[in-house]
């Protein structure tokens, strides 16, 4: 056990040993999901607040289930219907919640750096559940857990991350996490969707899908937001899908044991052909299952539970 942090804000902060620690803890939590009564008393008397300033179903539900299976009291706070609508600042709202003595605040926000702002001002532990285009560390952890489960190891693997890297916190957290675990990362997309100075993150950059996925052990497809057309990042969804969509035909040139991942929600027919999303290569639902385990592990490590 190497975990000493008050908060989980980013993968960039974590060291390889800490990542392994979280993955091992999460793995030990998976068995709880198979029980008839899915509840352990580990975090009884602990309070977890989901503070969500951006629409989310999957991540919020995942944290909520994780907390509840560990017997924590989980409260959901979403920006609509709260005092933020009355003009209270984000920090004031968070300080008010902190004054009610929660053990963990899980924050999702449209603004990069919002969890770091809370971590500076709050006494409780802060978990970043996605901030702007910055990071989404629990997503990267569940992705790593899924890859480790399927491949048996992480070091030496080749991963291609494909699509809108510029606006993707999932891509950033995975790049940081994968690099630390010895994975070779290639990012691919049209130049408008690859962020400036991307190579300096230690990844290969490709502007051809076929080239990027040819030798990949894992292909991670990113969600394309429809509003990207407005910023001039792509001309049309149709063209994007033609050039960058992962289809059965393109899959034929990939490794036979390739894994297809997607952080969800999937735009079927845009970045991922429906047949590919549902194929034997797809581990998209395993990612979701592992998401609960990873969040149980993270809450356990941060809320200071003793035994699982």
């Amino acid at each position: 056990m190497t975990w000493k942090r008050k908060d989980l804000l980013s993968m960039q902060d974590l060291e390889a040993a800490e990542i392994t620690d979280v993955l091992d803890t999460a793995e030990s939590m998976k068995e709880i999901a198979t029980r008839e009564i899915k509840k352990v008393p580990t975090l009884r008397g602990k309070t977890v607040v989901n503070l969500f300033y951006e629409a989310s179903t999957r991540t919020r539900t995942s944290f909520e289930i994780a907390g509840k299976w560990l017997s924590a009291d989980v409260i959901n706070f979403s920006a609509s219907g709260s005092s933020s609508e009355k003009g209270e600042s984000f920090l004031d709202t968070a300080k008010n919640i902190d004054a009610m003595s929660p053990d963990v605040v899980v924050v999702r926000h449209t603004a990069s750096g919002a969890p770091a702002l809370l971590a500076r001002h709050l006494r409780c532990a802060v978990v970043n559940a996605g901030d702007g285009a910055h990071e989404h560390p629990t997503q990267a952890l569940l992705d790593l857990l899924t890859i480790r489960e399927k491949k048996g190891h992480l070091e030496g693997l080749n991963v291609a991350i494909v699509g809108d890297v510029t606006h993707s916190r999932v891509a950033r957290s995975n790049i940081y996490g994968m690099k630390k675990m010895g994975i070779t990362v290639t990012v691919a997309g049209p130049p408008t969707l690859i962020p400036p100075a991307c190579q300096e993150l230690g990844v290969k950059v490709s502007h051809r899908l076929e080239e990027a996925i040819a030798h990949a052990d894992v292909i991670m497809m990113l969600r394309l937001q429809h509003e990207r057309m407005k910023g001039g990042f792509i001309p049309s969804i149709r063209e994007y899908s033609r050039v960058w969509g992962l289809t059965v035909a393109r899959l034929e040139h990939c490794r036979p044991d390739v894994l297809i991942m997607h952080p969800g929600p999937v735009n079927r027919g845009v970045e991922l052909a429906p047949e590919v999303a549902d194929s034997q290569y797809s581990v998209i639902l395993d990612q979701v299952t592992n998401g609960v385990a990873v969040r149980m592990g993270v809450l356990f490590l941060l809320a200071g539970g003793k035994t699982a």
């Binding site: 984000f90 702002l117 993150l201």
Partner: protein, 424 residues
């Protein structure tokens, strides 16, 4: 109004003077300089032994926030901050509420300055009505009322035709047009400089090109109209290169740089401290090296603070939503003395020139010299005094500085306006 400054090192680059001597001030003006001057009866003597006596520093880019934003800063608090920081004059930008786009607001600011101000205040009028970039402000009346330059600072005048007309219309007044060179489209929604750091932080960046394309346009328009265009807060290597070339070709373009663009890079944003957020944003290392070089070689005419006070609640926010800008009046001279002059990056003469005769010349202001007959606006420096930046002790109403906790040596020791010490 009468004062004798004894035994100081009088450093007046505009007159080519660097001598230990005395300065006698009579009726608010420099009366005489020389060794062993005696104080006439009843004249206060200031012992400046070991200190450096300079022409009063002029900050040609200050936001005093009054009228309209008195919760951020007032003429009273802003000019006290200026005095404490060694400035004897400030030029205040037009983005007040109401905007300083007409004579009534200019008159109001000047009246406030007369009654409540402690340093000289020179208003800068808006180029366009309400800073909207669509219709010229009444530049002639504003010039008559005392505006020393025109600028929509804080916003870029995107309409090149309108900007061209402003330059032409202002020609008879001898007032420069000051450009906030930042292309609206290239900079839209940006929170910082574009580069590796913005990529890592997932913050939207603006490329240096957002500044460069507008500097290029403004140089071309200056050439077309013959107007004097001054580029505010230059921050990129491309911009200083173009300005250097334009000056060599005889185009009337001048520029300024802020202390923060000389001392900080976008690496500082990794702290998520909203006091590292301003427009233009902190740039990369190569840009900082280029502006330092341009400051030393004279491409950059002056140093200006872009003092931009904000209330804590406007800064302590999600980074992308936090207000742009930082205060600078009370830190500029100290941080530059310690970080640039002490290690020899630039010499003291250069610093003093860029803070005094530089801005005085390009705005046609009195000051910038200690020659007999000049107004007795004087900044005295103590190069040996240690300091720590403690925002709680600022005279400014605002505390938004990225330099909190910085320590160093060398600072303004006394500020004299019209022969009257106004700080400490």
């Amino acid at each position: 109004m009468n004062l004798l400054i004894k035994n100081g090192r009088v450093l007046d680059p505009a007159s080519g003077v660097d001598l230990i001597q005395d300065l006698l001030i009579a009726e608010g003006r420099i009366a005489r300089s020389g060794k062993g001057l005696n104080a006439p009866a009843g004249v206060r003597t200031v012992d400046a032994t070991g200190k450096v006596v300079c022409p009063g520093f002029i900050d040609m880019h200050t936001h005093l926030r009054e009228p309209g934003f008195e919760y951020k800063e007032t003429v009273a608090s802003g000019t006290r901050a200026a005095a404490a920081g060694g400035f004897t004059a400030v030029c205040c930008m037009a983005n007040t509420f109401p905007v300083n786009d007409n004579r009534a607001v200019t008159d109001y600011i000047l009246a406030k300055a007369r009654v409540e101000g402690v340093v000289r205040v020179y208003p800068i009028g808006a180029v366009t009505r309400n800073l909207e970039g669509t219709q010229l402000a009444e530049l002639a009346e504003q010039a008559e009322a005392g505006c020393v330059a025109f600028s929509d600072d804080g916003r870029c005048v995107m309409n090149a035709e309108l900007y061209r007309r402003a330059m032409e219309y202002a020609l008879p007044f001898g007032t420069p047009i000051i450009s906030h060179a930042e292309d609206d489209d290239l900079a839209r929604h940006s929170a910082m400089n574009e580069g590796l750091v913005s990529t890592e932080l997932g913050l939207r960046g603006q490329p240096a090109a957002a500044e460069d394309v507008m500097v290029a346009r403004d140089i071309v328009l200056a050439e077309l109209t013959g107007a004097h265009v001054h580029i505010a807060h230059v921050s990129t290597s491309g911009a200083v290169r173009m300005i250097r070339d334009a000056k060599a070709r005889g185009i009337r373009v001048t520029t300024e740089v802020t202390p923060h663009h000389l001392l900080l890079t976008d690496e500082a944003v990794r702290s998520w401290d909203p006091n590292t957020k301003m427009a233009p944003p902190l740039r990369g290392k190569r840009d900082v090296e280029a502006v330092l070089e341009a400051l030393a070689d004279g491409t950059i005419d002056c140093i200006a603070t872009d003092h931009a006070p904000h209330a804590l609640s406007e800064k302590e926010d999600e980074f992308a939503d936090a207000a742009n800008g930082i205060v600078g009046l009370e830190t500029a001279v100290s941080v530059l003395l310690d970080r640039l002059v002490r290690p020899g990056v630039i010499d003291l003469q250069t610093l003093v020139t860029r803070l005094s005769s530089g801005p005085a010349r390009l705005l046609n202001l009195p000051g910038g010299s200690l020659a007999p007959g000049a107004a007795a606006d004087i900044t005295i420096l103590d190069l040996a005094e240690a300091w720590t930046v403690d925002p709680a002790r600022f005279r400014s109403r605002a505390r938004n500085t990225p330099f909190a906790g910085w320590t160093g040596t060398g600072r303004p020791w006394m500020t004299i306006v019209g022969g009257v010490p106004v700080a400490p």
